[in-house]
């Protein structure tokens, strides 16, 4: 493991910002810590970087215990939310800074700064001051500065937060490409689940100072381990029902078959909006319900519908649109929706 965080607890007064965090990141892996603001993800990142000393627990980088080591001894590159570029130094001087601190020879510094500038495609900007660059360019300088000294770990603290959507998307890809090329073990922090799904090898979802679940993006999406993960990651219909003898009674849908291992009692079922079908194909599905459209949002390749089912619950459905197909049902239309049993995921109760 390139990074191993074990049992980290950090309290601020009576509040536990981190309540026992364990996390392992393999070499070359891109791991995203995803969580709402206040979930403790920035505190965790600062603990890994060495700006916070944990009250309990251990931080290992490359197998070495660095729990109490000062930041400069950890060999960790970090990109701050606002980039933290040194405003009085040129771009080249900013990038040279970590090399100078490591007392590299002058020629080596010059060469590596040039390489780093080329890497982020800013060869022509070496002599500019940070404030003479656009937000995206500044972000790339911060990245170049964080990787130029070959750190054991790259930490990115919501680095795209201040950028507009388009720039953000191109930078997401660029960072990902860079990370793959350099085979850099990377911890990335975001509260944007879409961003997390696009970029990560694995995602750790945090809430209230704890890691709720760590897994591959697809797994997390399809098989969330907790109700919070199910709700936070993507859009979801969480349906409450009662399990009994390998099936569950759902209001509106009737009986839904469940894995035989499911014990009897109340259950929460996750049904992603795209698992709900409408129209003719519904006839073939085992679980069906009738309902009324509350509203329809047109999204280009798909449409999002809110439906009130007979028997009470409101569900969200996302249906694909083809140019030749008829328009989606509109507000007030009566529809029949259905899903196949294998699209249902039982959310474990904690």
């Amino acid at each position: 493991m390139q990074l191993s965080v074990q049992g980290i607890v950090r309290r601020f007064g009576p509040v536990a910002a981190l309540g026992g965090v364990d996390l392992d990141v393999a070499e070359g892996e891109f791991l995203t810590i995803l969580g709402p603001s206040g979930s403790g993800k920035t505190t965790l990142l600062k603990t890994i970087a060495g700006f916070e000393i944990p009250d309990e627990g251990t931080v290992l980088v490359g197998g070495e215990d660095v729990t109490l080591a000062p930041p400069r001894r950890r060999d960790v590159g970090m990109v701050f939310q606002n980039y933290a570029l040194f405003p009085h130094m040129t771009v080249a001087q900013n990038i040279a800074f970590p090399l100078e601190m490591r007392r590299r020879p002058r020629e080596e510094i010059t060469r590596r700064v040039e390489e780093a500038l080329r890497l982020v495609e800013l060869q022509a900007f070496g002599q500019r001051l940070p404030r003479q660059l656009s937000g995206g360019q500044q972000q790339r300088v911060a990245l170049a500065r964080a990787v130029v000294f070959g750190p054991r770990l790259l930490l990115l603290d919501e680095p795209f937060g201040a950028l507009d959507r388009k720039l953000r998307e191109s930078l997401q890809l660029e960072v990902r490409r860079l990370q793959r090329n350099l085979r850099l073990t990377t911890i990335f922090i975001t509260h944007d689940q879409e961003e997390a799904l696009i970029m990560s090898d694995r995602i750790a979802v945090m809430d209230k100072g704890r890691i709720e679940q760590v897994g591959f993006p697809g797994d997390l999406y399809a098989r969330p381990a907790t109700r919070f993960v199910a709700d936070f990651l993507g859009e979801s219909n969480l349906l409450e029902g009662t399990a009994k003898g390998g099936g569950a009674e759902l209001p509106g849908f009737g009986r839904v078959p469940l894995p035989s291992t499911q014990p009897d009692g109340p259950v929460t079922l996750l049904l992603r909006p795209e698992a709900l079908r409408l129209g003719e194909e519904v006839e073939a599905l085992p679980c069906r319900a009738r309902g009324t459209v509350i509203d329809t949002v047109f999204l280009g390749l798909s449409a999002k519908l809110r439906l009130r089912l007979e028997g009470g619950p409101v569900v969200l459905a996302r249906i694909p649109l083809r140019p030749s197909a008829p328009p989606p049902p509109a507000e007030g239309d009566s529809v029949t929706v259905g899903f196949s049993a294998e699209d249902v995921h039982v959310v474990p109760r904690t």
Partner: protein, 285 residues
Amino acid sequence: MSSPGHNREVIARRRERGLLLLAVPALLLLGAIFAWPVLRLLSMSVEGGTLAHFEKAALDGLYVSVLLDSMKIALMVMGICLVLAYPVALWLSRAGRVGLALGMFALLLPFWTSVLVRTYAWLVLLGRNGVINRTLRDWGWIEAPLPLLHNTAGVLIGMVHVLLPYMVLPIYASLLRIDPDLPRAAEGLGAPAWRSFLRITLPLSLPGVSAGCALVFVLSLGFFITPALLGGGHVVMVSMLIEQQVREFLDWPFAAALSTLLLLATLAIYALIGRLTRGARLATQ
């Protein structure tokens, strides 16, 4: 014809004019209490269309050497203030609420006492038989009293005491403006605390340093009560000579000529300080 761009410009200009209007009372006040007297002073120094007063002030070695001495004292006060003030400002910028309140109180205390009281307090402390010398002698650390008073050292101590806040506050303000992530980033990139300070914090606080230096330097040049009392007559400031010309000899034109020279010298130093810290100020704007 009015294009949208033109309209925007008109509106912007109107808003600017409105803001300027708000500044008018302050500008008038400045004009009345600052610009006008300075102009009067300048015109008085060439009263009767003669440069004789300047000739006397500039060519007589006496006044030039007093002027140079005054600037030397002012520079020394500035330097000592800087060395003492920076750590205080640094500490204040990182202190908690209680520390900040106490620190500010201690710092601003000299403002609440009159110059004379303050100066006499130093006489009591620094004299041959003053508190400091007596204590050191009682402890057997010294045999003869240290010459702390009635010399340049006494003047420097007294002036630094009064002027220290003028150095601390601008530096404190510019330290507060530094993003705390910057020194953090430097440390994360491998800098020990002292190198992070030298490379990041110090250069970024230069605007405050420059403002503080300019303030202390200019104010130092105007001091005459403190140097007269604590210097024991061994330190002569040009402001003392100007005051003498005005009060004792009613020679206003000559006093005006001396003041003008002082003003020019001050502006020159001021420009120099500005030039030395220009890069830092530009970069941190």
